[in-house]
């Protein structure tokens, strides 16, 4: 009898255990985010993990099997415009976003939606560059969405119901969110957009349970704060320095690394004499308080709209704890992340704005690179050598992969009065015929030397991000709608699929039922690919 009871209990346990496990795993704790490497089947943050590497440890799809990849499912979002989302993958469910602040949850096996949320947007929002959104953060039983009317919204992971919805700033003054937030500890960290509207940029941290603001760091210091002296007169009040791309987190030092964007007005320096801290800067913030530990400014007193908002990728190499960033200004920077000291800066695309470096090794702008009334050509152009497209670092090849373009612009000043909520550029830029045709690349950079190990030239410049995987692959998309797998070591194309719409998003990988998938958004849909 006893044996039978034991057997019965064992049976119950066997049946119940997976459910208990599934239930327990529905909660995405901070510990899970910290140890995301232990669950390679999931993709828990915008960049996959806290390091920003956009590297998947999955290797089922690899250089041998990649040529056999097939489309597994397509989810049509129904939205129009640029689809920039990177979905999260959590225990068999994908959580993504689309234009106009939609969010959705999909069955990762089939792409069938479980729920959809549509944020109610007013008609007079102020997006700078499309009604876009780049994704969600997840913590506990909520996903978090930043909206174009500058709300932060927490949605229940099971239903998409709104748990809380807080207003961060006045959208009618040009504030908005397009960024995928970052969940750290019990906080939801998010940076604002609005560098084209003369906002005063900030990074916020909200209590994930309640939506209560825990800290705010203004990226443009006010009177009495360090860095305030780098702004002329009252220019700081409309100084820009938005923070519209997702940062990274180092648990060892409890620091959030978050990059900032252009000073306002973006292309005209007159009226804001000085370095304009903390625009175009990498900030190292205490995660609990938002206090700044150190900063590194990439482009001082920027006049070319070269936001430094590219993902700051944490790399550990040769006992050094580094951050690598392929900057919009055309230089690839390596920084010691323990103290913010610059280690190297090397051009990785066509640049004409700097031919000298300061004592720290930072490229310094030539005086004649400033926009003029008549206009003259500077490379890179206003869109930069790269932009929001997410890069990847592959620890196996020790290479950094980034989408790059060679394009130059004619920059011309156009003085413009500030008017709250009104686009505020102070300049106009035009494609320079000298640089035609524009060329687009995927480049593999060795962070140790800044050397470009290989490059793949696209038919035309793409806005796609890049994913690397333990299968020895990098994945990217092109402007013509192809999803492409390349050999990470050589850049050789192994496989491609025509998705029928341009790519403005970055790929990610996940696994469900033991099967690996690579997914990417293109056109207005999300596509998942796997082995036959």
């Amino acid at each position: 009898m006893r044996a039978r009871r034991i057997f019965a209990n064992f049976l119950v346990a066997c049946i119940a255990y997976p459910f208990l496990t599934a239930h327990a795993r529905a909660q995405v704790t901070f510990e899970r985010l910290l140890n995301s490497g232990k669950e390679p089947q999931n993709w828990l943050t915008y960049s996959g993990d806290y390091s920003g590497r956009r590297f998947s440890p999955l290797d089922q799809i690899n250089i041998t099997s990649a040529p056999t990849l097939v489309a597994k499912w397509v989810y049509q979002t129904g939205a129009t415009g640029k689809l920039e989302t990177t979905p999260l993958a959590v225990d068999g469910i994908l959580y993504g976003t689309a234009q106009d602040d939609r969010a959705f949850a999909l069955d990762a096996r089939t792409g069938r939606p479980i729920w959809m949320y549509q944020h109610q947007l007013p008609g007079d929002i102020r997006p700078c560059c499309g009604r876009v959104n780049r994704g969600l953060a997840i913590l506990g039983d909520k996903v978090f969405l930043g909206t174009l009317d500058a709300h932060v919204v927490a949605l229940d992971t099971k239903t998409g119901n709104v748990v809380w919805d807080v207003v961060a700033a006045d959208y009618q003054k040009g504030y908005s969110f397009t960024v995928a937030p970052l969940a750290v500890k019990d906080l939801v960290v998010i940076g604002v957009s609005g560098g084209e509207y003369g906002v005063r940029g900030f990074i916020d941290a909200y209590d994930s349970a309640t939506g209560k603001l825990q800290w705010r760091l203004y990226t443009v210091p006010g009177p009495g704060e360090p860095g305030h002296e780098t702004w002329e007169g009252d220019s700081w009040k409309i100084g820009g320095a938005p923070a519209w791309n997702t940062g990274t987190y180092d648990a060892v030092t409890n620091q959030i690394f978050w990059p900032t964007g252009n000073p306002s007005p973006s292309n005209r320096g007159a009226g804001r004499a000085g370095d304009n801290l903390f625009s175009n800067t990498l900030l190292a913030l205490n995660a609990d308080t938002g206090k700044m530990n150190w900063y590194f400014q990439f482009t001082k007193h920027d006049e070319h709209d070269w936001d430094a908002t590219q993902v700051p990728v944490m790399i550990d190499s040769g006992g050094k704890h580094l951050i690598a960033q392929a900057n919009r200004n055309g230089f690839f920077y390596v920084i010691d992340r323990t103290n913010g000291k610059l280690i190297s800066a090397n051009a990785y695309g066509k640049t004409t704005w700097s031919d000298t470096k300061d004592a720290e090794g930072r490229p310094v702008a030539k005086k004649e690179a400033s926009p003029t009334l008549e206009g003259h050509t500077v490379c890179p152009g206003a869109l930069g050598t790269t932009n929001f497209m997410a890069p990847t670092y592959d620890p196996q090849t020790a290479l950094f992969y980034v989408t790059a373009r060679d394009q130059c612009d004619i920059f011309s000043t156009a003085p413009q009065p500030y008017e709250a909520g009104h686009a505020y550029y102070g300049s106009a830029y035009f494609p320079s015929e000298e640089a035609e045709p524009y060329r687009g690349f995927l480049k593999a950079i060795d962070p140790a030397t800044g050397e470009i190990k290989w490059k793949f030239e696209h038919t035309s410049p793409t806005w796609s991000g890049v994913l690397s995987t333990a299968g020895g692959l990098v994945f990217t998309g092109d402007a013509e709608g192809n999803f492409i797998a390349l050999d990470a070591a050589t850049g050789k194309t192994l496989w491609h699929f025509q998705m029928g719409g341009a790519v403005y998003a970055a790929p990610m990988a996940f696994a469900v039922d033991g099967k690996e998938y690579a997914a990417i958004a293109a056109g207005s849909a999300v596509y998942a690919f796997g082995l036959p």
Binding site: D100, G123, A414, Q416, F430, P431, A479
Partner: protein, 298 residues
């Protein structure tokens, strides 16, 4: 679920919201704004609260740079992609009120966009649009456009000795290898047309534009050698990293996968020959432009 986005006052939801800031400037403004027409006369400054105001014109000049100059050029002389607005005769505009409406609402059927529809927020204020109108009026050349050539003779040349129609179609007649030219006289400046004839490779014409793609296809020259050794030279209809769709001079369409080709070469040297003055005199070119302009103005 239906979208809940409301249209603002006169701000419509962007059909071009996928385009980034640059793109938002490049594509939409690159077309027929205020087209020159042979007959239209410049009407009175009706309704413009800033008419003749020099300060407003200066503010308008800067607004113009930011919002219009990408296609219409610094100084409004036409950017090659958009018409010269310094001409007094304009196809879609007589009065200042017309001009305000065209800037506000765009021109349907062209890529001239409505204000505020480029994914960059709420667009220009009414005052700023009036400033631009005032600026454009301030730089207009008041003299009537100089008489151009003979459209009738230009037509003869186009379909005859100048051989234009071997490759170009106008109003349904002509070849297919080059761009269709029915509307070109209405949407491009005279200088841009002349430049395209004299230096066809300097600025390649745009071909297919895809909805989500940043750059339109250009009339690039493609030369391939197929697996069986056949060389094909023609113009690109479209291309991506892995395939090319092209047409040769005999108007055959080829749909090719690049990895199956023995060689693939792309050139920005146009298939169109350079028409030097020795081949096509200034006068004859003037006549052809007059022909295209007369068709484009219809």
């Amino acid at each position: 679920m239906p979208l809940t986005i409301q249209s603002g006052r006169d701000r419509k939801k962007s059909p071009l919201s996928y385009l980034d800031r640059r793109l938002a400037l490049v594509m939409p403004l690159c077309a027929a704004l205020l087209l020159l027409a042979a007959t239209a006369a410049h009407a009175a400054d009706d309704g413009n609260p800033l008419a003749g105001n020099a300060k407003a014109a200066k503010a308008g000049e800067y607004e113009f740079r930011i919002n219009c100059a990408l296609c219409h050029g610094l100084g409004a002389h036409g950017g090659g992609r958009g018409p010269d607005l310094t001409r007094a005769q304009k196809k879609h505009v007589h009065s200042d009120e017309d001009m305000f409406q065209v800037i506000s609402n765009g021109i349907p059927g062209t890529v001239m966009p409505a204000n505020g529809t480029n994914g960059q927020g709420v667009g220009m204020t009414d005052e700023e649009i009036w400033q631009i109108v005032t600026y454009i009026r301030s730089v207009e050349v008041k003299a009537p456009a100089k008489p151009t050539g003979s459209a009738a003779h230009g037509r003869e040349l186009f379909y005859g000795d100048a051989n234009c129609s071997l490759c170009h179609m106008v109003e349904g007649k002509g070849g297919r290898v080059g761009p269709e030219l029915t509307a070109v006289g209405g949407s491009r400046t005279r200088e841009a047309i002349i430049d395209s004839v004299r230096n066809p490779s300097r600025r390649l014409a745009w071909g297919l534009t895809e909805a989500t793609k940043e750059f339109p296809q250009e009339y690039e020259t493609i030369t391939v050698v197929t697996a069986d050794g056949k060389e094909i030279k023609g113009v690109a209809l479209n291309e991506d990293n892995f395939s090319v769709q092209m047409m040769d001079a005999s108007e055959n369409i080829y749909l090719l996968e690049k990895d199956k080709l023995r060689s693939f070469q792309k050139s920005r040297e146009s298939l169109m020959p350079r028409y030097s003055p020795a081949i096509l005199s200034e006068k004859n070119l003037d006549d052809i432009v007059a022909y295209l302009t007369s068709v484009g103005a219809r």
